[in-house]
Symmetry: C2
Subunit: 392 residues, 2 copies
């Protein structure tokens, strides 16, 4: 897949009119550029540069110990493994290449396009100043963004497999949810099922799975507690797995019936209807060319139209090698989201959509599904939750 | 431990004469600052700032979903959880604080002090420009470096535990090494023992453990191959575990006797003597106030004095939350090592020392041990390999 993505990047350089794209890193196990899995099979120790040119040349300059593994990807036509100095081979290659514009991985608006640390940026400026090229640096945001977002058939297949594993575990956890069980025990069951399948969690284990219940929950991004699951409460489970490098992210909502209750209270049923309607509204608004803000607005309106308070976050985000991936996002025009809600959707983007409604006295209704943008619209790649999962 | 390290950082701000230290991050699961494990118990999603002041004030501004977990560390006297805008609470707090110098996490010479991405640096400059403070930014390298390097008793205890687990697995793997076994099978055995102990690898699983043998090996940083272990060859195993966040890093060398051979060839015995002598020379040169380059030179001379070619890397590196940690390193004055070999050693630093000699026709002799810098010298925290581990 490395060779496939490196060749795709050559096409992107041509599309965006950039001569040369440099990914520059060191000790990538510590603060590696999120681009690296597309460019190299493992960690890089010393200063390393992957230099892709619009004319098709693909060069890697890496420490001697890392050279063999890079060569074997077949993605580069020249690999230099240095021992004492990165500077010499790097400056010599750039001088000969003489690119007019050099794109590097920084971005104020997208963390996945922002892999270059400020210290490495300063190092690069110094290296390029000495050969009169420091003023040629531009952001590689467009290139990196498209490389992550336009998923190949192989990348989509890996995502579907992650969704399949997640749904399989959701089916198994259902009988575990009983009044008196703790949030922590439910989370432990899910983690054990992931381990049995040798699946990694899609994000940090402290909150993956996230299990929260009742009206007093911290709601999300908070580790499962010793709180017991109680009749009359809503329970939410949010988790994903990483399968061959690609993530899933799904949420399901459960309701614990009280003694004598056959169906959930009216307020909860109304909340469920608002959330499922928001999900469908979002999917209908998704197609190549649409902006994320249009999708967020469609979902948000479905919630407020039903008389509920709007959710305090974007309705959706891209999913890829990270659970929050890509640049385009399905969000409102809030300052913290920057330009991301205004990016246009493209074919083969993968999103998670997660509207939410709080029901006073009971907890939260939140369902998260995954969607693939197709040529003319969008299709679910998870099996949407239509009804509350009832626990008697 | 978060509270302990945050309070230590207040002392460091006073020692280095900086009013305020800001760790600024977003989506820390993607390219999180390596400082974060000292400051927060889990991942941060939205723009987040940890603002420590020399006057003792400790403030966190984080997304609403992350606030509760940060509060519960007890390390901060004020936690703000925002929903739509990071900018407002951040600018308001800084305006009131009005620090003369603001240290942030970038460094050209040390990756563990270089957690701020260039995109976030630009964001910070923009946020601070609006309140007339952009020209107050300085590198936090000294603070971050000392915070990582001056290990507390609790941090040293965790490191010792990681070494203990590694040595336990080294003892178990010995009978597995037989002529005809593949490098990959040996690595798989070690990984399975780590999994059984629920230990993480100290670095990426592709090369941890690293198992390499014979005269044709890529030597290191290269995944174990299907090559079989052969009589007359040297075999090297390099691995470490992460125990409660703290790493070990040890290497051992084995020799496979040929039919009729009772001891290894003379050339290998001489190489072993040179390597063990280099290790002892390095440890003797280590004490508070010494420079890493002095330690490297002592070890390097032991190798060249014995008639071998010098090793093409620094003789040692610090170990901590990462297998390559800290700023001071035991290296030669090569350009790529920058100022690191000239930093002075301090009490409670932890190093791995790894001299190496190539023996033509047989492979490599390389032994790696771990050392703690004490008040007046340095002591092994691993049990040094004195003899080749012979396989009959």
């Amino acid at each position: 897949m490395i060779k496939e993505k490196v060749l795709q990047s050559v096409e992107l350089l041509r599309e965006f009119g950039v001569d040369c794209w440099i990914t520059f890193t060191r000790e990538s196990g510590i603060n590696g550029d999120p681009c690296l899995p597309f460019l190299a099979p493992g960690e890089l120790t010393w200063h390393s540069a992957f230099i892709i040119s619009a004319d098709g040349r693909r060069k890697a300059i890496v420490g001697r110990w890392d050279a063999q593994a890079i060569e074997e990807t077949g993605a580069y036509d020249e690999v230099t493994g240095f021992v004492t100095s990165f500077k010499e081979p790097f400056q010599a290659y750039l001088k000969a290449l003489n690119p007019a514009r050099i794109a590097v991985n920084y971005s104020t608006s997208s963390e996945v396009c922002d892999g270059l640390t400020h210290g490495l940026y300063l190092t690069l400026v110094e290296l390029l100043s000495a050969i009169g090229m420091a003023d040629r640096l531009v952001s590689a945001e467009q290139i990196v963004s498209a490389l992550r977002e336009r998923k190949s058939a192989a990348e989509i297949a890996r995502t579907r497999e992650a969704v399949r594993v997640t749904e399989e575990i959701f089916a198994l956890v259902r009988p575990v949810i009983q009044p008196g069980t703790t949030e922590r025990a439910i989370a432990a069951f899910i983690l054990a099922e992931m381990e049995r399948r040798k699946s990694q969690t899609a994000w940090g284990q402290a909150t993956c799975p996230s299990v929260f219940s009742g009206p007093d929950t911290a709601e999300a991004h908070y580790a499962p507690t010793g709180r017991t699951v109680k009749p009359g409460h809503l329970l939410n489970i949010d988790f994903g797995v990483r399968s061959d490098g690609y993530c899933s992210d799904l949420q399901r909502t459960y309701y614990l019936l009280r003694d004598g209750e056959a169906t959930p209270p009216e307020s909860i049923c109304k909340a469920l209807a608002a959330v499922t309607s928001a999900l469908e509204s979002a999917r209908h608004a998704m197609k190549p060319g649409a902006q994320g803000i249009e999708v967020d607005t469609a979902a948000r309106k479905a919630i407020t139209r039903a008389g509920f308070e709007e959710f305090p976050h974007a309705v959706g985000h891209q999913v890829g090698r990270f659970v929050h991936d890509g640049n385009a996002s399905l969000g409102p025009a809030w300052e913290k989201y920057g330009r991301r809600p205004f990016q246009r959707l493209e074919e083969n983007m993968v999103f998670a959509v997660e509207p939410r409604v709080t029901v006073p006295g009971h907890g939260i209704v939140t369902i998260e599904e995954m969607v693939l943008v197709t040529r003319h619209g969008a299709e679910w790649i998870s099996t949407p939750q239509k009804e509350l999962l009832l626990v008697r």
